[in-house]
Each structure stands twice: as C-alpha cells, then as structure tokens.
C-alpha cells in the first residue's frame, strides 16, 4: 500500500494550505518531489496515482507533469544519482572529460545504472553553477570544481555509506 508517512503527510497538508481553497493542484510539483524521495527515487505509476488521489486531480494531470520536468525519474535509478552538467560553460572547463571518466570508472553509459544498483549516471543541462565548473548534482547539493580525484572521492564516499 502506497502511503506517505505521517511526517510527510503533515508537510503535504502544509503545502496545500499555501494556495487558495480549490487550488490544491498547485501543490503537485512539491508533492511529487516528496513522493520521489519517499518511494525509492523514482515515480512509478501507482505512486503518481496516489498523488492524484491526494490532490483530488486526475491521474493524467500527474503523468503529464511528471513527464515534462527533468528532475522526475520515470524509471528506477541507482542508489546514488550523478547528474553531470554538460552545457557550454561546463564544457569549456572540461565536463566532457569528467563524463568520460565517470563512464569508464563505473563501466556504464550515460543514462545507465551499475549492475549492483548503486550508481546511475545522467547528463543534464545547465544547473546554474557555471563559475564553479565542471560540476554535478548529487543528492540535495552540488559538487563543484570537479576533477578526476574529486570524482574518485565522491564514489568512495558513496561506497562507504553502503557499508
């Protein structure tokens, strides 16, 4: 049974209360973020249907939004998601090399997950950290001024968390 835990449910209700009565659909993006965190890092159809029921909207209204925004994962992702920026300013500072290095190091292609389900590599477009390039999003924050050594350290950090 898909159900937010009590703490998240409180948060959901807090978010809905930010909008005028009857405009609870406005809570869709923030609630999908919460759902993605709580239900395994991606949005399966039953999860989206659950969000629709919470907000009293049609499931299609959730699907069309979830498929529009790049931060919602519609397929399972690894435990650790690396989203490396590849747009102009990052490219000028060597993001191509960083992407290649991660591919080789984890032995996966862009958009793929390692066989052990630990890592997924995605390339993304500009995340607004152009002065601190190359960079990637990992979890809630950014990892900036990336070098091969820093990538090694981040991967080690992830593996250490698993042990």
């Amino acid at each position: 049974m898909i159900q937010f835990n009590d703490k998240t449910m409180l948060r959901v209700n807090e978010i809905i209360a930010r909008y005028p009565v009857g405009k609870q659909k406005s809570a869709l993006l923030p609630v999908l973020h919460l759902a993605q965190v709580e239900f395994g890092g991606w949005l399966d159809v039953p999860v989206m249907d659950y969000v629709a029921s919470l907000l009293s909207i049609e499931p299609i209204e959730v699907y069309e939004v979830a498929s529009f925004y790049s931060m919602y994962n519609l397929k399972p992702v690894g435990k650790h998601l690396f989203e490396v920026c590849q747009t102009g300013p990052c490219m000028l500072n060597g993001s191509d090399d960083i992407i290649d290095y991660i591919k080789q190091k984890l032995n996966i292609g862009v958009g793929e997950t390692t066989a052990d389900g630990m890592f997924t590599l995605k390339t993304v477009e500009c995340l607004g950290a152009c002065g601190y390039a190359p960079m990637m999003q990992y979890g809630k924050t950014y990892r900036e001024h990336l070098t091969k050594e820093k990538v090694d350290a981040i991967i080690e950090e992830c593996r250490a968390k698993a042990n």
Partner: protein, 450 residues
C-alpha cells in the same frame, strides 16, 4: 572600485541569518515603505530607472504600474528564481548568502502592489537554497516582518517558496505561472499579460530575484539617488556572473560604467585569461545573446570602448553588438571551438523547448543535429546555410522568446565565425581524429585580429 548596493554586506559573518542582517541595517526599507503610500513606492521605483534583471531589461516601475486592481480580486507578487540561463548564477548567490535581502525587497514590493500572498518560484535543483530561504522566511515571520499586521501597519503578507523540477522554460513568466499552478511549463499566449490575468487568473507581477533585491536600496536611498549611479538608462548596479576561461570566475557587482576590457582583465574582476591565452570570444549576457569575437566585444563598430551596460553592449544591434541579458558573462579562450560550443547550446535549447510551437520544437532538434554533424566533420558546406535558414525560421515565430533565444546564438556564431564552420567541412579528418572540437586545433586558427 564601484559602489556596492546588493553585495555590500555579503562578507559579513552570519549575514545569512536575521539577527546579523538586521544589525547591519536590514529591514529598514520595510519600515520606511510601510509609512508610505503604495503608489509612492511605485513612483520611487519608476524614478530609479531600475530595469528587470532577469534578462529582458523592462522598466520595473512601469511593470508595477500596469498591475490591474479590480475590486475584490487578490493580486500576487511572484519572484522568478528559476535561474537557468547558461552562464547565469547570480540569483543563486544572493539567495544562498543574503536571503533576507530578497525577502525584504519582496515585502516592500508586496506592500506596493497589494499582494497578501507572495511566492518565490525557485528552480528545483536549488534544493538546499530552498531550505535556506524557508529558514529566512521563518525568521522574518518570527520577528514580525511577515504574517498578520506587519509591524502594526495593518498590512498582511505571507511568503512561500515553491520548487520547480527542472525546466528552463519556467523562467518565462507565463510558463512559470503555469508551473506554479501545477501544470506543464507551457508559456501562455499574451495578451492577456500577467498584470491582468496571471496566477489563477488574478493580476500578478513576476520579478527576478535581483530586481526585487534592488528595491531595498531604492527605497532606503530614494529613486533619484539610485538613478545617479550608472550611466544613461543603465542605472544602479548590476550583478554579473562571470565564467568560462577566466582566472576569477564568480559574482561581481558593477556600476555599469566600467569597460568590458577592464572587467575581463582587471584583477578586481575576472583577472584575465588563464595560462596567458588570448581572448577569442565572449557571450556577455547569458547563452541566448549573440556571441562576439574579441575585437567587437572590446570596441564597438564605431571604435568606442564597449562598456558593461545595456546600451553599450547592444550597440550596433546584432550585426556588431550583443545584449546585457541576464549578466551571464561567458568567456572563451583561443583554444575553444565555436562549433562545439554552439552545439552544446543548441542541445540545451532542444532539451528545454516545451514543444508547443513547431518552429521551436522541430527547429531546435534540427539545429542540434546539424551542428553535431558539422562538429564531427561529417557536414557539408550547404549545412551552414541550412542552419542559417532554420534559425531564421524559428526567430519571431513562437509564442515565447525561447525560440529567439535558441536562434540567436546559432545566428551569431555563423555571422562572426563562418570560417570556423567551413574549416570543419574542409578538414573532416582532423575532426574525426579527436573526440572534442576544442582539440581540433593544434594551432588556433581563429584568433580575431583588427
């Protein structure tokens, strides 16, 4: 050194938090504004000459004065914090390090516009900054600057942060409003403008983060004082986010009287180009604005020094000039490949096109494919003309400016660096031996002279 209005206190320890911010003079503008008539606040902002800092440069006071005020209908202020234009990362800096200046500016603006509920729509990836803003809002509320009857004035205002979820298009104000309503970020047809029909069909003003922060010094010092800084219609200060091949990437607050040359080479700003390399080109106002070769960047076609302001950067139109845009300043050194760089931008716009209008949906995909094939040495001479033709057919033919934003970088790259595109067609074997465009050049072939 120019005057700083927004970043003056940026390096005060603990300025992120209310107590320090208040001790340093924070929230004075709210105290002053609450004793003024809302219409007089709008007048001060008009006098200041402040222009929207998100990219379009539209006069803020005028935008505010367009807000419809029908009886019994709520009005809304929405802050556009969906900073996504490649090269632009200034709003992030303000929100991350001095969140209270945005909140302070928004309270004043909310009072001036009569908005009792105001929203900050922030790009979804700025997850940790959302937390910082929410904490700052809570601090402001605890201290009586938000909520009911603010400082005994009778004015009520609530403020909320809403996270997007990864879509550049939501920086376009009507797409942002759609997204805030829980929908796909498809821009609306204008008119009606948000000032008449915005959020949930109500009159709405959408302003950029830096614009709203600038309201604080404008109210504190008066619109006339603010207008004395800068030159011509470029009043006040502007945040520039500098990146690419420079020694000191980062955020700089400038007073718009300095020259582009000083900005790039002075140690106070970008500190020159690493490893003694030459300046090849620059995109001075975020990825959407035309790229300029070094000679046209530093001097206008008339031979005058180009300055870091709205008028000077656009001097010469698109033939020989560019735009101030969002202040995202991207520098390319002599080793960089214009074709590859333009390809990454075309890929960006293809990815970010919402798909509503065919010229943009189809055209951005075609431009990306053609640029990639040219970059890999698989292009034909006729592809360059085809590329030119496609961008012409996108520009001006879409609901929102994303189409123009996708077309301009391609147009400018061909306009100023056509020889480099031709080099790719004429030297396919050199393109194929290396992975990256920027390595195509053992010897830089295009260092602009004269």
């Amino acid at each position: 050194m120019g005057r700083k209005l927004l970043l003056e206190k940026a390096h005060v320890e603990g300025i992120r938090h209310y107590d320090v911010y208040r001790r340093e003079g924070g929230y004075r503008s709210v105290e002053k504004a609450l004793k003024m008539q809302p219409a007089d606040i709008v007048e001060e902002v008009k006098k200041s000459g402040l222009r929207g800092r998100g990219g379009a440069g539209f006069p803020t006071g005028m935008k505010w004065s367009f807000l419809a005020k029908p009886d019994g209908v709520p009005r809304y202020l929405v802050c556009n914090a969906d900073e996504s234009e490649p090269g632009t990362f200034k709003d992030r800096y303000l929100m991350e390090f001095i969140p209270h200046i945005l909140i302070e500016g928004m309270i004043v603006a909310s009072f001036a516009l009569g908005s009792n509920t105001s929203y900050i729509y922030i790009r979804g990836e700025y997850d940790w900054i959302t937390d910082i803003l929410e904490e700052a809002i809570a601090e402001a509320k605890q201290n009586g600057w938000l909520g009911k009857n603010i400082q005994g004035s009778g004015f009520d205002c609530e403020m909320y942060v809403q996270r997007g979820a990864g879509a550049y298009i939501c920086g376009e104000e009507t797409a942002l409003l759609e997204s805030l309503e829980g929908k796909r970020g498809n821009p609306r047809i204008k008119p009606p403008f948000p000032a008449v029909k915005g959020l949930w069909g109500c009159p709405t003003v959408v302003n950029n983060v830096e614009t709203l922060a600038a309201v604080v010094p404008i109210i504190n010092e008066g619109g006339d004082e603010y207008a004395k800084i800068g030159v011509g219609r470029s009043t006040g200060t502007k945040l520039i986010s500098a990146c690419g091949n420079i020694n000191k990437p980062g955020i700089y607050e400038i007073d718009m009287t300095i020259s582009v040359e000083e900005f790039i080479y002075s140690d106070e700003y970008c500190g020159g180009i690493p490893n003694g390399k030459k300046l090849k080109a620059c995109i001075p106002g975020g990825s959407s604005v035309p790229i300029l070769p070094a000679n046209l960047l530093l001097t206008t076609a008339k031979g005058e020094k180009r300055l870091m302001n709205y008028e000077s950067l656009s001097d010469g139109g698109f033939a020989t000039g560019s735009m101030m845009g969002s202040g995202g300043f991207i520098v390319l050194d002599e080793d960089q490949c214009i074709v590859r760089h333009t390809y990454t931008l075309a890929r960006f716009y293809r990815h970010e096109s919402c798909g509503q209008c065919s010229p943009c949906r189809e055209g951005t995909g075609w431009m990306e494919k053609i640029l990639l094939s040219l970059e890999k040495g698989k292009g034909k001479m006729s592809d360059i003309d085809l590329l030119w033709d496609i961008q012409r057919k996108i520009e001006g033919n879409t609901i929102c400016p994303l189409g123009d934003a996708a077309a301009w970088p391609v147009a400018a790259a061909i306009r100023h660096f056509r020889d480099e595109f031709e080099w790719h067609v004429n030297n396919p074997e050199k393109c194929l031996t290396e992975n990256y465009g920027l390595r195509h050049y053992a010897d830089p072939i295009h260092v602009p002279t004269n």
